[in-house]
Amino acid sequence: MAEPARAKPKPTPETQHFWDGTQAGELRLQRCDACANVYFPPRPFCPACASRKVSVFKASGKGKLYSYVINHRPAAPGFTPPYAIAVVELDEGPRMMSNIVDCPQTPEALELDMKLEVAFEKLDDKITLPLFRPAKG
């Protein structure tokens, strides 16, 4: 039997642009054309002002560590504990859940507010996940 795989997202028409972006090596967010609000997760209208005029743009991929847990048990399929489940605050404002790679999964190494940059992990031909690693320099 194959190893259990990590939960894989299934895009919807409203989120497809995000997953197309990660596949192309871009972290894509949306900005409201009317009120300039930047928001996440994806939807075809602005949750601040209800305008349907919104644009997709390539985000910087930079952010900082807002909070996290280091999960020991029970572990999700496809994960080897202990592993950090993090919430990253993007420089553009929105926050998103992710994992921190290229970094020990310890409280000492995972300092709140540490600078992070996006790192893409390809799951298969359709899905690439946006993960984050400590920013260089």
């Binding site: 894989k8 997202p9 919807t12 996290y68 847990v69 994960f79 489940i85 409280p107 996940l129």
Partner: protein
Amino acid sequence: MRKNQVAVVGAAETTELGVVPNTSQIQLHADAALNAIADAGLKLSDIDGVATAVETPQQIAHYLGITPTWVDGTSVGGCSFMLHVRHAAAAIEAGLCKTVLITHAESGKSMIGKQPRSTPPDSLNGQFESPFGVFGPPSMFPIPVLRYMKTHGITHEQIAMVAVVQREWAARNPRATMKAPITVEDVLNSRMIAYPFRILQCCLVTDGGGALILTSADRAKDFPTKPVYILGTGESVETPMVSQMQSFDSSRAFKIAGPLAFKEAGITHKDVDHLMIYDAFAHLPLYGLGDLGFMPHEETGKFIADGNTRPGGKLPLNTNGGGLSYMHSGMYGMYALQESVRQMRGIAPAQVPNAKISVCHGVGGMFAASGTIIFTNER
């Protein structure tokens, strides 16, 4: 809503709590309902309103043989029952029904007749949280706590004291699952679940249920039980995605539901004799104390660590032992309500002397929803 127009006249938990491997989830609902109906001295045919969560009102009504004229299937997680109390009180006042039965039960441990929770991969949670390794509440609910601790200067030892104090209360409750005393060291050395939380900071996983019966305050005096009046209520929701909370420094849903209830009740924090704050995990009482306005968040950890919420303290909190030590079948809100009612009736195992006002605050999902009910035994 006008205060003190509706009262709890029946309240009971399931005959057994803890590990109940011989009973399915829907029968646990029925067991709690039958106990509450007996408590109120009613017949099933007297019930014309039914509210429940996860199971549907039609399932519960049919199983019990009730023909309702009003139902509420609000299912927003563990505080659903606070919302049911609020909605039932409004419905009774509006004349939509006269006598409402609210049931909760969960075969949370034995998993008999219970559907496992699932997150579809094309839902927003399935796309933007599940792929990063969240796996059940222990991996999600504590995600905000490190930020909360940093912002407000809260220590690991202070949060550990939440579990220590609640075990002191549990020791006074014969039906509590965990009664042996624990220390801060015990908590901080217990098995790691999801850093920073260890097993003694996570709720129990048990089987059980509870039910409430509400009717108008005018009718309540004819019942065999001491009426417990609904003095104030509040509710709100925020987001099913913990990562998308407005802030980890507080809960938006708490900050709306709690003050709404206080305003409706027309009371101040000094009037509160007894307090329940749903504690699925050890940080929730801190969020509750801050967001309900008892004190600034910066003071919540010290307040608990200094012993103010323990037996004999000035603000008795989670006097049944809470979800950490009493029981937690998955949606604990009903057990918090049961303890508030017992305290207002004056029959709690760890009774707060002369308690007249009880605040009962619930959370649903991972800070997704909130409901607050303020009870009194004086009209």
